[in-house]
Amino acid sequence: MFENIFIENSLKDHPRVESILSRFKNSNVKYLEQYDNVWGRVKKPYLAKRTNLNLFLANKKGQLVKEAPNAYGVKGERHFYFIHAFNCIYECKYCYLQGYFNSPDVVLFLNHDEIAAEMKRVLNQHPDETVWFHAGEFSDSLALSHITGELEAYWNFFKQNPKAKLELRTKSVNIKRLEKLEPLENVYASFSLSPESATKQIDLKTPPLKARINAIAKAQAQGHKIGIHFDPVIYKDEVFEEYEELFMALSEGIDLGAVSYFSLGVVRFTPQVFNEAKKNYPDSDMFAAQFVRSSEDIVRYPRSMRAWILSKLKDSLIKSGAKEQRVYLCMED
């Protein structure tokens, strides 16, 4: 999977490094002072991840927890994300990471204790509010969790801090570590889903839809809190039929009424990511629609089109068994 593994010198004797290396025996191992002496120093094309993906093991410095933008999650509550990794093993054609970082190489940060300490500090600053911490802003939360072994570290934090909420966002079916952990009232495993055709054609390298629904069902049966994101919705002539099929398949596999929240959002890009995605995937039918650049500098469908899509999908989702008050529209005013 990884051509080279770069390790910061200070982590040479870190127990997690040895365990990670044991899983990638064919990779070249190199040591360096700081990961960003190489990572991001040159503009490495996003699609290089297909042929020569590298892994960096490092300690995150600088800001470890960041406030999330408005309308990021459940409205009326405060949202932050913490940075446990950069980049992802999947290749979703709309992914903003393709225009965000200067390299597709994966960085795994190992200083989880420091990140948890920072979350505690943030939590103390907002003693009277519900504070959400999201993992998965810059990387999939669960895809490599069996390798990183980080879930346990965060689990302890959220067990000790029941007022804080954790969201683990994923497109993976990798719930191995999750299954070993006791469900907590304030920890949500949230799964991003798209119809079968989009999963195959747009969310490249992600597991098939059926496997993802099975993983959600398992996690739900075990007692974990579940969130589901239908985001981004990509318009095509058959979009409503495809989502109806998806909602039906989902309602057959899991108890939709017991899902803690659903989000719906249409595809959107920063201008830079839009250009990058068009360059990387010029033939994708994702671009077979009208896009406008809004005053907030977001490239997306025109307002009435996205409102039309979202309201129809919301109705369809509620008819399938979702509770209306648990459905929110992502990044929409």
């Binding site: 080279n4 770069f6 070249n28 190199k30 360096l32 190489v38 120093r41 040159v42 503009k43 490495k44 094309p45 699609l47 290089a48 042929t51 020569n52 200067n102 095509k236 002539d237 033939d283 994708s284 039918d285 994702m286 671009f287 077979a288 629609a289 009208q290 406008v292 809004s294 005053s295 469908y301 025109p302 307002r303 009435s304 089109m305 996205r306 409102a307 039309w308 899509i309 979202l310 309201s311 129809k312």
Partner: protein, 334 residues
């Protein structure tokens, strides 16, 4: 015309001979035959900048091909193997941020162009953090081509392991052998070059601006699975009333095409027009932004009489902002 770019005469010698290329007076390093140009730049990025820029400015070059030798930075790279280059990086005492991804048609590997010869292992090791091959010119060739918007492909023959074992004299002695192998490789791939498809012409007369819009719509609609442009156009044209001017026909066709990309655009427009009717009736206009993106409009009206003001005050009884909000919120008759 294609342009072949080499760093050294030694690498180019068999091409000049076998492709019957003649030197061009006043342009040292430039050779031509009937359909191909060949340029020998000399070693290093600075030589490339001056020589290649001049040729691309003077000649009508449609594609550039770089052929030459490169050093391996990783042991896994086999000596004497050929590689098409995908992305080129640069190191000039420090890594340069800018990289270029070439128009490779096959899967390729990356190369880093070094401004210095790579004669020690620690430098080779530093370069290997970025790419498995090293050369001396490709990044500069790519930069010039990028600035001139000319597609570039590059093929490298791995000559040696870069580092303290690099022997420049030995490489010079092997120049004829390298050139022969590069030519054989080139002749094997030369016929595979694909021609770019031409720009799509509209089925009816259009203005320059309409044509530009038409082409961009064709491109987007062409991405739809199963979209058949010819039958779409003939259906749209057949549905048009007789007696329309070319401009009207062109606008209708473009509107039909836009609907394929945004099925609610027309109904959004029509619903806002309907809501604007009482405003128009009193001689005023509602102005929206082009894509109805902002939840607001401007009321424009010329006041030249008390009657205008009286009419304006009546608007508050018949114009409901919530009706407009419904349209912005996607409540559309589609």
């Amino acid at each position: 015309m294609n342009l072949l770019v080499f760093a050294h005469r030694g690498e180019a010698q068999e091409f000049i001979k076998k492709l019957s290329m003649k030197g061009v007076s006043g342009h040292p390093g430039l050779y031509l035959n009937e359909d191909t140009a060949l340029l020998i730049t000399g070693e290093g990025i600075y030589e490339v900048f001056s020589k290649l820029g001049q040729i691309l400015g003077e000649y009508s070059i449609t594609k550039v091909f770089n052929l030459g030798i490169a050093g391996a930075l990783e042991k896994s790279i086999r000596l004497n193997s050929f590689h098409e280059i995908k992305t080129v990086y640069c190191h000039t005492g420090k890594p340069q941020f800018q990289s270029f991804t070439l128009n490779s048609e096959n899967s390729g590997i990356d190369v880093i162009t070094s401004s210095e010869r790579v004669l020690d292992d620690s430098y080779a090791n530093e370069l290997s953090n970025f790419a498995p091959l090293v050369d001396r010119e490709l990044w500069a060739i790519a930069k010039v081509c990028d600035e001139c918007s000319i597609p570039l492909r590059s093929f490298k023959l791995v000559s040696d392991m870069a580092g303290k074992s690099t022997d420049c004299f030995d490489l010079k002695e092997k120049a004829l052998e390298f050139s022969t192998r590069l030519l054989e490789f080139w002749l094997g791939i030369e016929g595979d070059q694909e021609e770019d498809p031409g720009s799509q012409e509209p089925p009816i007369q259009m203005s320059f601006t309409q044509k530009a819009k038409y082409r961009s719509l064709v491109k987007a609609l062409g991405l739809k699975e199963g979209f058949d442009l010819a039958s779409f156009e003939s259906k749209a044209l057949a549905e048009m009333k007789e007696g329309l001017s070319s401009k009207q026909k062109a606008n209708l066709l473009l509107e039909a095409m836009e609907l394929g990309l945004n099925p609610v655009k027309l109904s959004t427009k029509k619903q806002f027009e309907k809501l604007s009717t009482p405003v128009q009736a009193i001689g005023a206009r509602l102005l929206f932004d082009k894509n109805f993106e902002k939840k607001k409009f401007t009321l424009q009206m010329e006041i030249n009489d008390q009657k205008n003001i009286d009419n304006l005050s009546k608007l508050s009884e018949i114009l409901k902002f919530s009706d407009f909000e419904k349209v912005w919120n996607g409540e559309l008759d589609v």
